[in-house]
Subunit: 167 residues, 4 copies
């Protein structure tokens, strides 16, 4: 059966608060039985995967490089793309919904990609960075309903499930 | 823990013999506990996924399109790349080994990609097509040991496990 | 000799003011002898190419599709990528500098890509859209000098030449 | 006006004979007024660009890396893709026809890509390598007319122009 998939985006460098939120987010995704997909590296990505594995969730990492060893140690399924940052496109596309934590320009590009793909984006406002700046903003006047704002990891996952009509 | 991954490549159109071999191949991969990754479409890909699901294997499909609905119904994890045939690169890279069944030009390109990535390629000789033509051939004089030839699906999986040093 | 290349990013849909600015931008790029690279489609991209051809500039279009016929009629060199929106990455990388006009989420993603690639981005503030919103903003605290704001097309090109140390 | 484009594919390492043929091929393409597109690196690619520049041809290089400095010194338009070997797909797509010289697995993959894209492929038989092995072969029974064999660079360009109906 097709797995429910949630993409987590956020930088490989992140402050302690972002890391904590990312870990809680991974836990929340796994508890709801969804699969977590991300860029497979450190920082937000590693913390989210670590959280998911605590609850026996399945984790997927789409690496920019061709070397499977570049994945963090909480990734179950390592997919080395060799596409560099263009792999951000695939991360954004692969999630049924995309949850953003903190983040700088790389995360912003992924949020923008998800937006113009009409994919639900949930910004974890409390994490700061671009997730905060864009939370609730109508990035494109034609798509004002695409962007959602959450204040906790649990709320972010709940919004994703609601928007997608999942149980 | 990082999953063992076997990529299966082969055309979306295929004769009956190729389909049967692909299904057996999927079964053999699942029985050994490996994850099957493929292009997610019909023909060889669908048959291999169907075989894997019979034995409760995990299946991943990297689609050329952006529409998750384009996946065959035996794919658990659907990754829509939007890259068109360039997704062939990622399929070839994602497997720890690549097993080819029958196939025309698309399959040949994937075999060539795996070769120049120094990834073990096992051609299922009995399936015909390019898999047969290239079985055992030294595609590049510097990499004569990369290409392997198998006569049954079970043997193909065994070769993959041996070459990779897996139990 | 390696050509000087300026990437122009902006939407395929755009109001009249953006179109006028884009055409002037194309003219300014061609007059300075630089090559214009863009996504090859309509709207801002077509207007910029049209402007460049008035002054005999060279124009390159990187299409999302595989069909060369999808290019606007002012593109000299048509490169069909088949990568969908992932071609945005290449557009942003191919310019020595990137100039943004108006634009919605697609343009925002390209600006963000240019930013995290440490490539000079010049936002044509007067054109509105995301170009305006991000003009002068420090998108990432580590890269505060990367973003430039221009009020006219001519000024945008001049900033690009200055930043790059071109005559 | 849209430029006529010929893609040249062949390895970055090549024997002297292949280099000579590649240079002559670049000359022949430029003399006929076509634009040469290639992977932008050394070996066959550099020799072909060098030949084209002797006759004032325009040369384009699609690099695997993100660093424009990786281009050979005869490339006019440097497009750094950051896609690694997946840039092979774009090289094959960007030519209206594809001419292959010598080559190992990388070249074979590009020939196969051109084939399944129904793009005319001309293999320079005299250069050896995969170009020779596949010259004239019906790589896929459904597309027996796609592959052409040429014995000299001039003949290869002439076949391309004939097949495409160019003057």
């Amino acid at each position: 059966m097709v797995r429910k998939m949630i993409a987590v985006i956020g930088g490989s460098e992140c402050d302690e608060k972002g890391i904590e939120l990312a870990e809680k987010l991974g836990e929340a995704i796994a508890k709801k039985g969804a699969t977590l997909i991300c860029g497979g590296r450190g920082g937000v990505m590693e913390a989210a995967c670590r959280g998911a594995k605590k609850f026996n969730g399945l984790t997927i990492g789409l690496l920019p490089s061709l070397d499977k060893k570049d994945a963090n140690s909480f990734v179950d399924i390592v997919i080395p793309t060799g596409l560099g940052y263009a792999r951000n496109f695939i991360v954004a596309q692969a999630g049924d919904a995309v949850i953003a934590i903190a983040g700088s320009a790389g995360t912003l590009s992924e949020m923008a990609i998800a937006w113009f793909s009409d994919k639900p984006v949930i910004a974890l406002e409390s994490s700061g960075g671009w997730a905060k700046k864009l939370a609730g903003e109508a990035i494109d006047s034609r798509r004002t309903d695409v962007v959602h704002s959450a204040s906790t990891p649990g709320e972010a996952v709940e919004i994703a499930f609601n928007v997608l009509g999942w149980e």
